[in-house]
Amino acid sequence: MTSDKPRSFQEIILRLQNYWADHGCAILQPYDMEVGAGTFHPATTLRSLGSKHWAAGYVQPSRRPTDGRYGENPNRLQHYYQYQVIIKPSPPDLQDLYLGSLQAIGIDMDLHDIRFVEDDWESPTLGAWGLGWEVWCDGMEVSQFTYFQQVGGYDCKPVSGELTYGLERLAMYVLGVDHVMDMPFNNPDAPIPLTYGDIFKQTEQEYSRWNFDVADTDTLLQHFKDAEAECARILDAPHIDPKTDRKIIMVHPAYDQCIKASHLFNLLDARGVISVTERQAYIGRVRTLAKLCADAFMQTEAGGAAA
């Protein structure tokens, strides 16, 4: 058991990276687009489809415009980090592996109360659902633990096990910090110690203002329509590329447009211009894109189709 406590936000991230690397995961880098959660990374959504085995871990910056609190709330942010682990097929000792990761970041199992509380996961925008829990540490939700059952409308065979750690909350807890902005980001003894607030306080304010009051809704709406159209157009293209004469199904470029549409929807939601009934319609439109991408992925090699 690792008993020495980490001292900074980044050390917790590094320990998780090392832990999951030691346990056989490919350590990937964040996806380079705005997403609402680590699940949107193609390493999870697309790779949980099909029969090929897979194991990956990565940090994913995530954006939830409606959660902006101008940097005032002790642990709500419109931009935060998730640590995501996805293993297909889910190993039988996944719960123990997960608990091992908590020990690795300095949570002493003898002093804390760890609980697995029912939380079925559903992403209407991805046409995905799974069963699992939110993991509580002393009443604090520190992770989501999900066995994927369906993604993009497809049954997951085999089933992927997905772990999502809310990094700021988890780190605040481990480091004993009451307000996220006070959390040491790097080593507090470094020549230039930086807190989370040094890095993100100002950006939280800026984005909160923009998200809630300034973002131009007409532009966002137009971008949404553009992304939607482009996604469908990409997938409509013939599978055989006339230039190289190879079968190249452009799933990932199309999926990028799906991710864009999803984030634009979140921004529109934060601006309060989407009504309850319209909401369902928008979610349905994004789901249609996700489903199209899943269909296309299943026809590719990574999706398990014969080359």
């Binding site: 509380v117 002393d138 807890y173 211009v273 009504s275």
Partner: protein, 704 residues
């Protein structure tokens, strides 16, 4: 005799599913055993977050031998028939017996099924039960195809008798039954072997697992109460939460913590909801102030620091949660209620029924219209309706939808509005079911009625009626709500015309809203739909009254009367009628009425006239006839004004006076007199009975 112990050990089972799963396990396994001929003395099942357990005592060690005889075809029938019989019984010709029967020599099959050891039967039953277990939601994991609520890790299945215990062998998707179990995930994760239930339960207790959910719940409640009591406080009872929390722990440890002073200004409901929904904390109240001052949380383990770290962590989470709630509360208070309500313009209620704001405007207009009928101040009813749904746009209700209404009340109070308006915000959604509180504050009643009537007429106008089990807009509940509000408050509302007017408006605006824009309004569509909606109300009313002990025929007899859209009138009539029919006079009068009606119906069919007018006492030949004339005149004099003033008791009492004369009449008088004039006069006299009684109810519909 033998005892069976079964444990299905898995990853954490959702708390809400545990009790049901334990009951299902017991039923499915014991049903299977009994069906296979294995009877037993007693059985019990248990659930914890990680295990389902079943213990069966006094099980037969072996099922009894069964001998079954089946009669086959006669000897000499076509080969095909014989082969069919052989296939059915699974024997060959030489195994059959030939016996003399009434019809000659006949084949008999004697099938002897020797008893089987309990172990063999259990081996078959349990895998079947596991594979077909009725979880509300189940899942696959890894590469397997077995479904369980969460990954199933091990199965303990031991059959024990005086001479020892043995594992019942079976295997499901690679999980082999054994005699092993493990204790608490953190306190005692080691596997150990078990031979029988008593040992299992005792060893688990040592391994920090309380097997019985009731024991865990009792333990939690006792500790929580004592801890609160020691500080002069009391735990707010919450049976649902207690059951849930008992399903989240194998080794409950109760801890009490503080709520920071920062949050004492938050409404009690906000504190309670936030703590219960997010943290599964019990609220601890100061009985003197009524305020929530502390919380109780239940951990799943003991620690060296006696829970100090755990409690500190929980307090920190609560601080963050309540900071959020406070953020919403303060933001909401900055927005005037009217401005908050104005945002409803951006929310579509239904694409054919417009926005929430348009809906609110309709409700406000209707609340004003019906204010008088419910003794409410019209201005106030309209004002209340205008703000009653504003809190749907508050941040607090966005976060905690269950606080709709309650928050509106607080925001109205903070805005200095009248108490009646604040109450209407809180309570206009009620009643939400047959057992819910029914508002009685007049302004609330006006808004609640207007809200429900607008919803019902709207969906009727656009043909979105409930069908079968589908009622997505809870229209049955809304209709029942209207009925409860009207009846409990004794409101007289002639609702049919109100419904028609609303429906007419809805139809016109829905055509404007919807894409087909140009559809013409059908003539009479509003009338037809209003009648249909009224009969929907009547159906709900029948259910409502049946639950109150009023039989369906009595209701039908009253529904057939005029003004049946005034539910209060309708129910007063039905109650009085029900009471009357139960009396001796009532029962006999009903018989007399039926007799009169039968005679009349036959005579009218035969003579092709209606005997409804012109009975004249001067043609009365006998005293009993004269007495009936007199009695009818007396009754009429009493009944008409009584009905007019809705005094049904008096009307019934007046009818009771008819019983004796009618009985006497039928006893002494022959209707079909030789004289045609006398006969017609008597028939018209019967017609008079029918007419008099028809003022009260349609007695032809009453059974008996």
């Amino acid at each position: 005799m033998a005892d069976l112990l079964l444990e299905l050990f898995s990853e954490e089972i959702p708390a809400r599913m545990q009790a049901r799963a334990a009951a299902d396990l017991k039923k499915l396994v014991t049903d299977g055993l009994v069906e296979a001929g294995l009877t037993y003395g007693g059985a019990a099942s248990f659930a914890t977050p990680r295990r389902l357990c079943l213990t069966i005592e006094g099980l037969l060690a072996q099922s009894p031998d069964v001998r079954e005889e089946r009669k086959g075809p006669r000897v000499g029938v076509p080969e095909k028939a014989l082969q069919g019989f052989l296939r059915g019984v699974g024997l060959t010709v030489d195994q059959l017996e030939i016996r003399d029967d009434k019809k000659g020599q006949t084949y008999f099959a004697v099938i002897e099924k020797p008893g089987r050891p309990a172990g063999d039967i259990i081996t078959e039953i349990i895998p079947k039960v596991i594979r077909n277990f009725p979880w509300p939601k189940s899942m696959r994991w890894g590469e397997g195809s077995l479904r369980w609520v969460r990954p199933l890790h091990s199965i303990l299945c031991v059959l024990s008798a005086d001479d020892g215990a043995e594992v019942v062998d079976f295997d499901i998707d690679g999980i082999e039954a054994a005699n092993l179990t493990a204790g608490h995930r953190f306190h005692a994760p080691e596997w150990f072997s078990v031979n029988n239930f008593d040992q299992y339960r005792a060893e688990l207790k040592k391994a920090y697992v309380m097997l019985d959910a009731q024991e865990r719940a009792d333990h939690i409640w006792e500790d929580a109460k004592n801890m609160a009591f020691a500080q002069g406080l009391e735990v707010v009872e919450d049976a649902g939460l207690l059951a849930e929390v008992a399903g989240l722990v194998e080794w409950p440890v109760v801890l009490m913590g503080d709520i920071a002073d920062d949050f004492m200004e938050l409404p009690t409901e906000v504190l309670q909801t936030s703590m219960r929904e997010h943290q599964k904390f019990f609220s601890v109240r100061n009985p003197k102030s009524g305020r929530i001052e502390k919380f109780i949380t239940v951990a799943n383990r003991e620690t060296a620091d006696h829970g100090a770290t755990i409690l500190a962590g929980n307090q920190k989470v609560l601080f963050a949660r309540l900071s959020d709630a406070k953020f919403f509360w303060e933001n909401d208070l900055r927005v005037p209620l009217a401005d908050m309500g104005a945002k409803l313009e951006n929310v579509t209620f239904h694409n054919k029924l417009g926005t929430q704001a348009e809906r609110v405007a309709r409700i406000a207009a209707l609340a004003r219209e019906i204010a008088d009928d419910v003794d409410a101040n019209a201005d106030m009813a309209e004002d209340a309706a205008k703000v009653a749904k504003a809190d749907l746009m508050s941040e607090m209700v966005y976060e905690f939808p269950e606080l709709q209404g309650v928050m509106g009340k607080y925001y109205a109070q903070k805005a200095g509005m009248d108490d009646a308006i604040a109450a209407a915000c809180a309570d206009h959604y009620s009643p939400l079911g047959p057992s819910d509180m029914v508002p009685s504050e007049p302004v609330t009643v006006a808004v609640a009625l207007a809200d429900k009537i607008d919803t019902l007429t709207g969906f009727w106008a656009i043909d979105e009626k409930p069908t079968g089990s589908k009622d997505p807009f809870a229209l049955r509940r809304a209709a029942l709500g209207v009925i409860q509000l009207v009846l409990e408050n004794g409101v007289h509302l002639f609702i049919e015309e109100a419904l028609r007017l609303r429906i007419q408006k809805h139809i016109i605006s829905s055509i404007l809203f919807s894409d087909d824009g140009k559809r013409p309004v059908e003539t009479g569509e509003d009338i037809r739909k209003a009648k249909d909606l009224l009969s929907f109300f009547h159906d709900r009313l029948k259910v409502y009254l049946r639950d109150k002990g009023i039989s369906h025929d009595i209701i039908d007899a009253c529904l057939a009367m005029p003004n049946n859209d005034d539910f209060t009138l309708l129910v007063n009539r039905a109650e009085a009628l029900q009471a009357f029919i139960k009396t001796d006079d009532g029962t006999n009068l009903l018989q007399g009425f039926k007799r009169a009606n039968n005679i009349l119906t036959q005579a009218e069919a035969k003579d092709r006239v209606e005997y409804s007018y012109g009975a004249d006492v001067k043609y009365a030949e006998t005293d009993v006839e004269k007495a009936l004339f007199a009695a009818l005149a007396t009754a009429d004099k009493a009944i008409a004004p009584a009905i007019k003033s809705e005094d049904f008791a008096t009307a019934m009492a007046a009818m009771a006076g008819l019983r004796a004369p009618i009985d006497g009449f039928f006893e002494a008088v022959k209707i079909n007199a030789d004289s045609d004039i006398v006969r017609r006069n008597r028939l018209n006299l019967l017609g008079q009975i029918r007419k008099t009684m028809a003022q009260v109810a349609d007695f032809t519909r009453i059974e008996g």
